[in-house]
């Protein structure tokens, strides 16, 4: 990031190559639609515009994910399509699936069950289990305490288990 702040285009490409896939899946989780691809480009464009605002004392990854979240929220404010965003959650082709939850059910079941978990809890759950952020990093991104981030992820996992159980029972 410091090389990129110094004006290196190659450094930008390296950052993009390392972070874009994760950020894209995160945006898919937030939007649940193909608009995530547009927001991904917008997030990296915003990163470029705000590269002077980056402080090297913070890790790059949470900063870029936090920035992507801001871009999503700004877009949501501008478009005022929150309900539409959630309506389309059923058709997620690239929705992230928790590695820990893999043994609990099929990918399709987990996707469907995650859609029934509270969005705030699902976000904390995915940020921790899917993208490997620490609870301190999640706290900084979401504006909550580390304990609250841990509690959200934990409740999210419990709700996911309940949703999975009821889905599997319904199918049986």
């Amino acid at each position: 990031m410091i090389r990129y702040q110094g004006g290196s285009l190659q450094a930008f490409e390296e950052i993009y190559a390392r972070l874009a896939p994760g950020v894209r899946r995160y945006l898919w989780h937030l939007t649940g639609s193909e608009i995530a691809d547009d927001l991904l480009q917008e997030a990296f464009l915003q990163m470029h515009r705000s590269r002077a605002a980056y402080n090297p004392q913070y890790p790059v990854r949470p900063w870029v994910f936090g920035l992507a979240r801001n871009v999503f929220l700004m877009n949501r404010r501008a478009a005022r399509r929150w309900s539409q965003v959630h309506e389309s959650r059923e058709d997620l082709p690239d929705f992230p699936v928790l590695p820990e939850a893999d043994r609990l059910g099929s990918q399709d079941e987990i996707r469907r069950s995650l859609a029934n978990v509270d969005p705030g809890q699902a976000e904390a759950l995915l940020l921790h289990h899917e993208w490997g952020f620490s609870f301190e990093e999640i706290a900084g991104m979401l504006g909550i305490s580390a304990a609250a981030a841990r509690a959200r992820a934990s409740r999210g996992m419990a709700d996911l288990r309940v949703a999975l159980n009821s889905l599997q029972r319904g199918r049986a």
Binding site: Q5, S8, L9
Partner: protein
């Protein structure tokens, strides 16, 4: 399956390549907040030099006069520090901390106002101006209130504009809240100096005129934050 090392799209690369001038990394929130201190101190000092210190400083004592103002100033810097955190996508602070600091700032202003009044209930304007001006202010105290309110708001407004300029590129998730925090910091910093200059201690004047000025800078900061946030939304959409 996703490409393991994706390349940025051509349009994005073109946009990036257009502006690749080197930039200096941003300092941390604490350093940013501390950098705001000297300007806030300068404006507060100018107010003191222009109006002069209040005539009952000896009655108030150094702790209530300078100590209370120093506490307000420190809290003002803390508010700017929290606002700087709120403007960093990965370093936001928990909401309870944010709200409790805002409540602490309000309570401090209220407490200092009441303590100042109970120690020295000065209600007569005694300024370094011709006696007939002091007499006019005594007869029509609302002029004094109006002057303090407008003066504090203008001084606080200058600080808010400066803060907004410094943080114009930040990406606050809640720009209105971040702006309001900068405004609260600016208003409190100005009030810290202004209360040592203002010769009237009555709660209606201190809270009505000075308190309104703090509120005005909070609203101004929130509005600027909202405008900057909307600018970002338009860029996105």
């Amino acid at each position: 399956m996703m490409d393991p090392s994706p390349k940025p799209p051509e349009t994005l690369m073109r946009a990036i390549a257009r502006d690749l001038r080197p930039v200096a990394p941003s300092p941390g929130p604490l350093q940013l907040a501390l950098r705001m201190g000297p300007l806030a101190l300068l404006i507060s000092s100018l107010i003191l030099v222009a109006i002069g210190t209040r005539h009952d400083l000896a009655t108030l004592g150094p702790l209530l006069a300078w100590g209370a103002s120093a506490a307000q100033f420190v809290l003002a810097i803390a508010l700017v520090w929290i606002a700087a955190h709120e403007s960093t996508p990965s370093a936001r602070l928990p909401r309870p901390l944010l709200y409790s600091t805002a409540i602490a700032a309000s309570l401090l202003v209220l407490f200092v106002t009441l303590l100042t009044f109970s120690t020295s209930p000065a209600s007569q304007p005694v300024l370094r101006v011709p006696p007939r001006v002091n007499e006019m202010l005594r007869i029509s105290p609302w002029i004094m209130g109006f002057g303090c309110g407008i003066g504090s708001t203008v001084a606080g407004g200058i600080l808010v504009l400066f803060f907004s300029w410094v943080f114009r590129n930040s990406l606050a998730t809640r720009p209105t809240v971040a702006g309001a925090l900068y405004g609260a910091g600016a208003g409190l910093a100005i009030n810290a100096g202004w209360r040592i200059a203002c010769p009237v201690s009555t709660p209606w004047h201190a809270l009505g005129a000075h308190g309104s000025a703090i509120l005005a800078t909070v609203v101004l900061g929130a509005l600027i934050g909202r405008c900057l946030g909307n600018r970002g939304s338009h860029a996105v959409s």
